[in-house]
Symmetry: C2
Subunit: 268 residues, 2 copies
């Protein structure tokens, strides 16, 4: 079966990157995400389950339905949850524009790093809203690649960073979606929309962030689009090599890296 | 007397902008800034005193020495502090590269929105470090204009925003200094350097931030460099007008604005 389009690909390296990312960011992004006993929670777009085991472990008496469009990703997610010994997650294959659930089936919907990859994020949010019971809550977490800046800055490094944004855009996604979560959720009909930035900052005094975020999340993510960026003619071999070296300086002594995620909550 | 170079100018409008900015940002930037009874605190670069009264009121038993290079600004700062009925601030005119104090004179040094305007921020930090007693603490708060992004985004709006960065650079400043506070403070010889971003976020659900920050701080700051940007040939009348209109959309319904300050603490 051919895989659906996903800018970061489906390799084992990418699965490891997603696990590193989930580990480093979990405390920042999931702070306070707890669901009560008996709550029905839809994880819309679970991918390889990078967040699923953590979510399910943090709310052991809630019941999770985790869906994704990729059967291979679902198989990995199922294994990850089984290895963690968790019994409160059901996996289903589903297209978020046409999910196999009755309206008002869920108390909560959790969406993390998904909308940025979709051509129709507003249509998906409208559809997800109907799945919530009245008063039910949605949590949306997305990045914004326009929030990235670093030291030392250079045109070479920004060139490879822009390849990531352009490759994602060419696949129909919007890696700058974080900044517009508020207007999107309002347009989708949600109430009490609240969005806050979750800044990620890494310098020499935070070696776990330099390693876990700058190197293993950000630089790994950029490295992952090399083939695609070159195939699209966005950059040549030489500029790519110089760009990755320049970007790498932000993870060396004296370097600093900044990025921001956005976390939104809203209600039906 | 001619005024020293300051990208934002010395007008009454600018003084009002600084007061609005201090008001809106105070809770975010000054959180936890308290000095104990008897502490000697140097405010290096107090300007018109936008922060001084707040600092001095929050630590009524500390003694502040607030210095600036502009005699006119000092006169305004003195009035602001007198109007607030505070008696724990002494004002002095001083050049931060050659301050009239003996080494080890202060327990704390407070620097806010100053380094970004200086041609030699590292030399100033080295000089300020000598003014601290061993174990004394410095607090540095600066912005980073490269941290700015908004919705809707447009090339027109980014063009006027870049005028601000270029005008400041032409005057010898670096409006992108926030991201490099950590390496600067380390290079200046400080210990235990800790830097954290302080993100500013404004959307429709936060009307006080849209008004106090997006309009009255950011847009007012950009508006203030109009003459300079045109005189420098960075932009023409038409592009300026279109750019300000486009930037203004970030403060209209559905608009979103992001910016980040950085707050550093370090020790001699």
């Amino acid at each position: 079966m051919s895989q659906p389009a996903y800018v970061h690909g489906y390799s084992a390296v990418e699965a490891a990157r997603l696990a590193d990312q989930a580990q480093t960011l979990a405390a920042i992004l999931h702070e306070g995400v707890r669901y009560p006993a008996g709550a029905m929670v839809l994880e819309a777009g679970c991918g390889v389950g990078a967040q699923t085991a953590r979510l399910a472990a943090a709310s052991p008496e809630a019941r999770f339905v985790s869906v994704d469009i990729s059967a291979d990703s679902l198989a990995q997610a199922r294994r990850a949850v089984a290895e963690a010994g968790l019994g409160n997650v059901t996996f289903m294959r589903a297209n978020l524009l046409n999910p196999p659930f009755a309206d008002e089936s869920f108390d909560h919907v959790f969406v993390c790093f998904v909308l940025e990859h979709l051509a129709e994020p507003l249509a998906v949010l409208r559809r997800l809203r109907r799945l919530l019971r009245p008063g039910g809550q949605i949590t949306v977490i997305e990045g914004d690649h326009g929030s990235c800046y670093f030291h030392p800055e250079s045109a070479e490094a920004m060139a490879v960073w822009r390849c990531l944004i352009q490759a994602q855009a060419a696949m129909g996604g919007d890696s700058l979606i974080g900044r517009r979560l508020h207007p999107l959720l309002v347009a989708a009909g949600f109430n009490d929309v609240r969005v806050r930035p979750a800044p990620i900052y890494a310098d020499d005094s935070l070696p776990h962030m330099v390693e876990g975020f700058t190197r293993r999340t950000i630089m790994a993510m950029v490295a992952g689009v090399e083939g695609q960026a070159k195939a699209m003619g966005l950059i040549d071999d030489d500029a790519w090599r110089r760009g990755m070296t320049a970007l790498g300086r932000a993870a060396e002594p004296g370097g600093v890296f900044n990025y921001s995620f956005f976390r939104a909550t809203a209600y039906r």
